[in-house]
Symmetry: C2
Subunit: 226 residues, 2 copies
Amino acid sequence: MMMMVRKSKGLGERHQRILDFIASYQREHKHPPSIREIGEHCNISSTSVVNYYLDQLEKTGHIERDRKISRGMRLTGNTPLGDMFRVPILGVIQAGEPIPVPANADFGSFTPEDSVEIASSLMPGKEKGKELFALQVQGDSMIDAMINDGDIIILKPTEDARNGEMVAVWLSDRNETTLKYYYKEKDGYRLQPANPTMKPIMLKKTEALEIKGKVVMVIRKVERYN
Amino acid sequence: MMMMVRKSKGLGERHQRILDFIASYQREHKHPPSIREIGEHCNISSTSVVNYYLDQLEKTGHIERDRKISRGMRLTGNTPLGDMFRVPILGVIQAGEPIPVPANADFGSFTPEDSVEIASSLMPGKEKGKELFALQVQGDSMIDAMINDGDIIILKPTEDARNGEMVAVWLSDRNETTLKYYYKEKDGYRLQPANPTMKPIMLKKTEALEIKGKVVMVIRKVERYN
DNA sequence: ATAATACTCGAACGTCTGTTCTGTGTCAAG
DNA sequence: CTTGACACAGAACAGACGTTCGAGTATTAT
């Protein structure tokens, strides 16, 4: 009755309701709903009416249907959302403490509380399949890296770096942890701050320098500051 | 014959093959395979044998099955990943230019190239359902906000702010865009840099101040720096 | 007003799908 | 050798599922 919408009006209320249901059902169950399930949830008593609407949604490109199999339907969306993965948060990184580094077991199971979800599309292609770990910055002393207290940094474990890569290093002689761009030079190493107004750390080859990881991403949740 | 593997060997080759097939089929089709499809692809000629293996995989926790519906099966994985959403990237934010602000249509359809995917779990609860937009930072002049050239900032559109919130403002008298913490004071406004070593901007009430949005997140892809 | 079009309904039907059952083959232990 | 456990096969079946059809209702255009 009141649910009848003319085709000339474009995507109607019932179309949208069906799409919403398909989307939320798919998210929850990882498979599409059946026609009868769509009917039950959208107050449509006949499978042929659901079919009628699905045909229209297929015609407008919102869904794709495979008529040869059960539950053969999926949302196209304008763009499907991509993949996501979890990165374990191993602890904090702060100036005067060694850097927590993952053991092999740290890449296995982890819970929402000690991991962070990252959309795959945010990661450069070469880091996607890699085992990454996250650390939360504690303190104000990574300012020279333009990184704030509370920021989450995501690292690829490595003990080597190429020139120009931002690394997390532990300088045991100085009892210092720092994040800087790494450059190997003739007779030592240069650790260059991301903040261009600040001076680099110059290290001789004899000085201890432990690269613990390469920084690939920084995430900052900006909160109200009091 | 040669495919028969004793249970005492743990998760067998055929178990793994079935799991791999389920995973790749699910990724491609967005729904699980049927038992006959699993059989065809894993060289199992009888649906009862597929059922036999699925029962075992269910028992070991690798899959969940819903026996009341067709294709009622899904991989468990360690932890279900949550939701994700897209935020439109409207353009760049740079020092001497007005800030791109969303029109209503900007929250509708968008493509991967002009949007960024964000895991819902990264967003504070109160921003989750909101219409957000993203801007890419261009230039070095947001340094006082500890924000780099190339960073992506995510904003909630607003023309008001509360004390302590980081806002994107356009100061038309100065022809300047800036990101700072906002404080309303007795006879004007104070825009405080995130970098504690830098000075605030003090504005009189008569000076033009256009708040365009509140910053809720900063994402930095750390690349090699040459 | 009528005619055309779009939407809605329910029954019936064919196909997909998973389960159950029975039987066979292999292996290890007694 | 027998027995029991496990792996495998195929047939049969019940139920889930989507499609088709005819009829009726609502809306729009003329």
